[in-house]
């Protein structure tokens, strides 16, 4: 066998030239046959039409060359893949993998590009602008920053004790047979679509908040000044409550996993010193799981910041800085959902997308922090060997 690549260890593989001619012959013959058939069909169809014959010959030639070239490229790729299978495989998955990074860059890039008009009009003062008035074409992000931060903070305040309590119950208190069903049921909460939470919130939670919870809060906690105004039910407080329900599964799942990962020796040491159940949790488990729990809380925060449909339906959608927890509000996400379609000209679209950019950057930051915290306690599994 005359091999042109004697240095190659794979001497049983055929040389490049022969593979190429063989594949080309095998692929090019049917390709030309197809091209001839296609060309004849074109000629038949257009002889009576406006085109001259020379035009059709050119078309036929183009089609034939294109088909042949395609086969050539495919044959070449097939050769490369057969000759160097591992590098080809690596190249393909690496290209697709890096396209994920490209996607992230594209998202930021598109939003930056689209918010140029707003940035040219308002500059950095957009970030401190307290007025959002489409009629006067004045836009500032501050009212929605307030709405977003207040609803998310309320959600964390309500969700953290509930989620942590559930995680403690599942890992330490519940009978063994009950642990998995409860855990799965809490995870099902995360599967319920946001718009269904909103619909439920609008017709079940909203009247309850308006008629029962908010008057009671005004009566007993009115002195704090947080609950001034008429109870309307469609306000920041209701949005915070719905958000809390939606982020409990996130915090609970991460807390449960990190609590379950506490080494048995840690617990046994506390128990052998005579600690009660709670003292064991408090002294031996919670400190060990702390960074994981904080990571879960920040993940929940990330979800609360960007949650859209449910908040849009219960928050009241008023573009002003809220004066109390019982006033109508607007978050960045609900602003995008309600005003991107019903806009008052291109400057407002640009301003809305600049708000979106602010939300994107904040949620990217929050997620990076959460990942770094959760990664520190993540278990190391199988994976790459090279």
């Amino acid at each position: 066998m005359e091999s042109p690549t004697p240095s190659s260890s794979s001497s049983n593989r055929p040389p490049l030239a022969r593979v190429l001619t063989k594949t080309l012959l095998r692929g090019a013959l049917p390709a030309f046959a197809a091209a001839i058939v296609g060309g004849v069909t074109y000629v038949q169809g257009y002889t009576l039409g406006p085109f001259g014959l020379s035009h059709l010959v050119a078309l036929w030639l183009t089609v034939a060359v294109a088909v042949a070239a395609t086969f050539g490229v495919v044959a070449g790729l097939a050769y490369v893949a057969r000759r160097w299978p591992d590098p080809t495989f690596f190249g393909v998955v690496a290209a697709v993998g890096l396209s994920i990074i490209a996607l992230a860059v594209a998202i930021v890039g598109i939003l930056v590009y689209n918010s140029q008009a707003s940035f040219r009009a308002f500059g950095w003062s957009f970030l401190f602008g307290q007025i959002w008035d489409p009629n006067r074409q004045i836009f500032g992000v501050v009212p929605f920053v307030y709405g977003t931060l207040i609803t998310s903070a309320l959600a964390l305040l309500i969700a953290l004790p509930l989620a942590l309590g559930s995680a403690i119950f599942i890992t330490t208190q519940a009978p063994r047979w009950l642990r998995r069903p409860i855990g799965s049921a809490i995870e099902l909460l995360a599967a319920v679509p946001s718009v269904i939470y909103g619909f439920w919130g609008l017709y079940i939670v909203h009247p309850y908040m308006q008629l029962t919870v908010e008057p009671a809060l005004q009566k007993y906690l009115g002195w704090t000044g947080l609950f001034s105004g008429t109870p309307i039910g469609l306000d920041l407080l209701t949005a915070g409550v719905i958000l809390a329900i939606m982020i409990v599964p996130t915090i609970a799942a991460v807390s449960r996993d990190t609590l379950a990962a506490v080494p048995a020796a840690q617990k046994e040491a506390a128990l052998s010193l005579g600690a009660t159940d709670w003292e064991t949790i408090h002294v031996a488990m919670l400190p060990y799981a702390r960074s994981g729990i904080i990571g879960g809380v920040i993940l929940g925060l990330g979800r609360a910041l960007g949650e859209t449909m449910a908040v849009t339906m219960v928050v009241g959608n008023v573009d002003q800085i809220p004066t109390s927890l019982l006033s109508h509000g607007q978050t960045i996400a609900s602003l995008i959902a309600t005003e991107l379609l019903n806009n008052n000209g291109p400057l407002q679209i640009s301003a809305i997308l600049e708000c979106g950019l602010v939300l994107l950057l904040v949620s990217l930051l929050v997620n990076v922090v959460a990942r770094l915290l959760v990664w520190r306690v993540a278990k190391v599994g199988g994976g790459a060997i090279e």
Binding site: A106, L162, T276, L305, M309, A333, L340, L359, A384
Partner: protein
């Protein structure tokens, strides 16, 4: 005195047990309430004849319909979620393979990290991203099922990357080493041994990702826009979707529109919850099997 302190410590411990139990009850109450309310308010209309095939009430402006329903929305959701899966699953699985199997080459970790962070990007931002590119600046495109699918795919891709990576990493390295020791090439080992072993996990993870996007309305508001009619053009016409229908009708003043929204809610809820429960049972069964053999 000593006894008192002991009793107090015990009491504290017991009350914590009770409190955490109550926390679980409080957390699960909304789930029960949502399913109950949807069943009570939407059950009647969902099981009416023709509800799943008829057009919604505002689709019958010219001729009043004898039956109303959510047919177009089901078809639209099916088309968009299907197309999004066709786009996202191959890309996501390949990127997941890169992130898991080439982790030591630097960029693998970067991809893994990016996918992690991207999966926390709000879905409304993904919608705004697609809107910003296609609807705003490409004059030839408009609100369509295609742009809706792209937005859904952008949400789905990072989730598929993560679930694939996690499933691949549960495959023990002993299997990889055994394969390599037998002289098999790396691509064959990855596709025929590792991926096959992890396939049930990958498949259930993909299914959960698909279900999550199927219920998401935020990215569709200004990409697919929604419609009352059966879709017959993927590229030049707004497309209806179930979550969009719920959003639009929930805020309506007409009681029969809200009734249709409750029926749609019950339908979507049943599909999503049942799929979730089944796939979770499959995951559990598999993980039990794997640990049993180890």
């Amino acid at each position: 005195m000593k006894f008192d302190r002991h009793a107090r410590r015990k009491l504290l411990s017991h009350s914590v047990a009770v409190l955490t139990g109550l926390a679980v009850v409080a957390v699960l109450y909304p789930l029960v309430s949502i399913v109950y309310e949807a069943a009570v308010r939407g059950g009647g209309v969902l099981f009416q004849n023709g509800f799943l095939t008829s057009v919604p009430p505002n689709g019958c402006t010219v001729v009043s319909c004898s039956t109303v329903g959510i047919g177009p929305a089901i078809v639209g959701s099916f088309i968009m979620v299907g197309l999004a899966s066709l786009l996202a699953v191959p890309v996501g699985v390949m990127a997941g393979i890169f992130a898991s199997e080439y982790r030591t080459r630097g960029f693998g970790r970067a991809v893994s990290f990016t996918a992690d962070v991207l999966s926390g990007v709000p879905s409304i931002i993904m919608g705004a991203f697609i809107y910003g590119y296609f609807v705003l600046y490409d004059p030839s495109s408009t609100y369509s099922g295609f742009t809706g699918s792209l937005a859904l795919a952008a949400i789905m891709i990072p989730i598929v990357v993560r679930t694939t990576e996690e499933a691949l990493r549960t495959v023990p390295n002993a299997m990889r080493e055994a394969a390599i020791a037998l002289g098999i090439s790396k691509w064959k080992m990855t596709l025929r041994i590792v991926l096959v072993a992890a396939l049930p996990g990958v498949a259930t993870g993909v299914l959960l990702a698909v279900m999550r996007t199927a219920g998401d309305a935020a990215p569709l508001i200004f990409t697919a826009l929604g419609s009352n009619l059966y879709p017959h053009d993927l590229f030049h016409q707004p497309m209806p979707a179930l979550p969009l229908l719920i959003f639009n009708f929930a805020l309506s003043n007409e009681s029969n529109w809200r009734e249709v929204a409750w029926g749609a809610t019950l339908f979507l809820l049943l599909v999503i919850l049942i799929t979730n429960i089944i796939s979770r049972m499959v995951i559990h069964r598999l993980s039990e099997k794997m640990t049993g053999n180890a």
